[in-house]
Amino acid sequence: MMDFNRYAKLAVMSAAALGMTAVLTIEGAQAYFTTYVSAGGSQVVNLGAETEIHEGLSNMTKHISVENASAVNDCFVRVKVFCGNELAIDYTEADGGQNWYLGNDGYWYYRPILAAGTTTTVLDAKIVLPEGFDKDNFNVVVIQECTPVVYDASGNATADWTTVYSDYQETDGGSGADVVGLDENAGGQGGNAGAGNQGEGAGN
C-alpha cells in the first residue's frame, strides 16, 4: 500500500513536471506577432487559328476574301497572288474601301483585326493578259496566311509576320523556314486556283 502511494506520487510529480515544461515551451513559441494573407488567380491563354480562303471568279477577276473560322481567336491575315511574269494583275477593293494594302514583300495585308467568325472585305485581282496569250494554259495561285494578334510595347495591336514557328511535331517534316500560315497552303491552293484557267471558264 505504501509502495503504491509512493509510486503514485512519483508519477503525479513527473506528470506535473512534464506539464510545466510544456507550458514553458508554448510560451516561447507564441512570442512573436505574425500574420499572413494569400491570394491567387489565373487566366486561360487561347491560341489557335483557322482561316478559310474564299475565291470567286468572274470576268478574269479573282474575288478574294478570307474568313476567320476560329470560334475564339482573332487574327490578322494577308494574301499573295502568284502568277507568271507575263501576266499583270490589277488589284482593287470590291467595295472601294481601304482595308487592304500592299506591303513591300508583295503581300496584300488586311488592315483591321479579323475577329473570330468574320470575313474580310473582298479584294479583287483582275488578271490582265497580254495580246495573243494562251488563255487556256496558265495558273494564278492565291495563298493566304494568318498570324495571331499581339501587342507592341505601347499597347497597340499589331501583327508579327516575322514569327517563325518551331514545329513541335517531328513527323510533320516541316522545314525550319515554316513561316506563319505556311506556304504548304500554296500547294493546296494551287490546285484550286488553277481554276484561274480562264479559257475553260472554270466555275470557280
Partner: protein
C-alpha cells in the same frame, strides 16, 4: 530493538523521499515562476499594448482593392477575402479581362499589387510571388515561368532575396519590404502590370485542308497562374522575430 531500528530506518527513508520530492516541486515551481516573470518583463510592453492596440494585420491590395486580409482583432483573427467568407485565400486577376474579352499576347494588363498594414502595430512585410502554367489541372513545366511577365517595380523598396540569383527569375520570387510598414500605411507597388509573352505561341503546327488552314498551337488552352503570399511580422525584436518567422538574417538583407 532490532525491529524498532528497522522501522526508524524505514521512516527515515520515507522522509528523505518526501524531502526530495518537496525540493523537486519547489525547484520546478521556482523555475516556472522565474521564466514566467522573465517573459513578462521581457514582453511587458507588448502585453500592455495588446490590451489596447497591439493588433497585427495585413492586406493584399490589387489595383486599389483589398483582395485578402487577416487582422487580429478582439482576440480573434478576422479573415476577409474577395471570395466570400468560406475562403481563406483571395482571388487575383478576376477583373483582368472585361466581359467577353480574350487574353492578348504581349499586352500589358494593369496589375498593381501593394501591401497595406491593416493592423494597429507597425510591421515588417515580405511577399512571395509564384507564377506557373497549368493545363487540364496539371502543371506545365515545359513553359518558362518567365513568359508570365510580372513587371516588378520599386526594386529599391522591395529587396529581392539574394538567394534567388541575379535575375530572380523562376517560379517563386521573394521580395522583402525595406523598412517598417507603419500601421495604416500602404506600401509602394511591387508589381504594376502583367504581360504574357508572345513566345508562348511560338510552337505550332499548321494543317491545310482544302481552302482552310488551321494553326494548332502546342500551348493552346494553357492557363497562367499567379499566387501571392504576404507575411508580416512585428517590429519589436525585429532581428529575432524575422529570423524566427522567415528564417533569414534581416540585417544582412538590409531591410531593417
Amino acid at each position: 530493538m532490532k525491529q524498532a531500528g528497522r522501522k526508524k530506518k524505514a521512516s527515515n527513508g520515507k522522509y528523505v523521499t518526501y524531502g526530495l520530492m518537496a525540493l523537486a516541486v519547489l525547484l520546478l515551481m521556482g523555475s516556472t515562476i522565474g521564466s514566467t516573470r522573465a517573459a513578462l518583463t521581457y514582453y511587458s510592453e507588448n502585453y500592455t499594448a495588446e490590451i489596447t492596440v497591439s493588433q497585427i494585420g495585413v492586406s493584399l491590395v490589387e489595383n486599389g482593392e483589398v483582395v485578402s486580409s487577416r487582422d487580429y482583432d478582439n482576440n480573434e483573427w478576422k479573415v476577409n477575402t474577395n471570395q466570400g467568407d468560406e475562403s481563406t485565400s483571395g482571388a487575383l486577376l478576376k477583373n483582368m479581362l472585361g466581359e467577353g474579352e480574350k487574353l492578348a499576347l504581349n499586352k500589358a494588363y494593369e496589375e498593381t499589387l501593394t501591401v497595406r498594414n491593416s493592423g494597429s502595430i507597425d510591421e515588417y512585410v515580405r511577399v512571395r510571388i509564384y507564377r506557373y502554367w497549368m493545363k487540364d489541372g496539371k502543371k506545365v513545366t515545359t513553359l518558362s515561368p518567365d513568359l508570365i511577365d510580372l513587371h516588378f517595380v520599386n526594386g529599391g523598396q522591395w529587396v529581392r532575396n539574394p538567394a534567388d540569383g541575379p535575375d530572380g527569375g523562376g517560379e517563386c520570387v521573394e521580395l522583402y519590404y525595406k523598412g517598417i510598414l507603419p500601421s495604416g500605411a500602404e506600401s509602394a507597388a511591387f508589381v504594376d502590370f502583367v504581360r504574357i509573352d508572345g513566345e508562348v505561341a511560338s510552337e505550332a503546327r499548321v494543317e491545310t485542308k482544302g481552302d482552310t488552314i488551321t494553326t494548332i498551337y502546342k500551348y493552346d488552352g494553357v492557363e497562367f497562374h499567379v499566387d501571392v503570399e504576404v507575411d508580416a511580422v512585428q517590429t519589436h525584436n525585429a532581428q529575432d522575430a524575422i529570423r524566427s518567422a522567415w528564417g533569414v538574417d534581416a540585417s544582412a538583407l538590409g531591410i531593417l
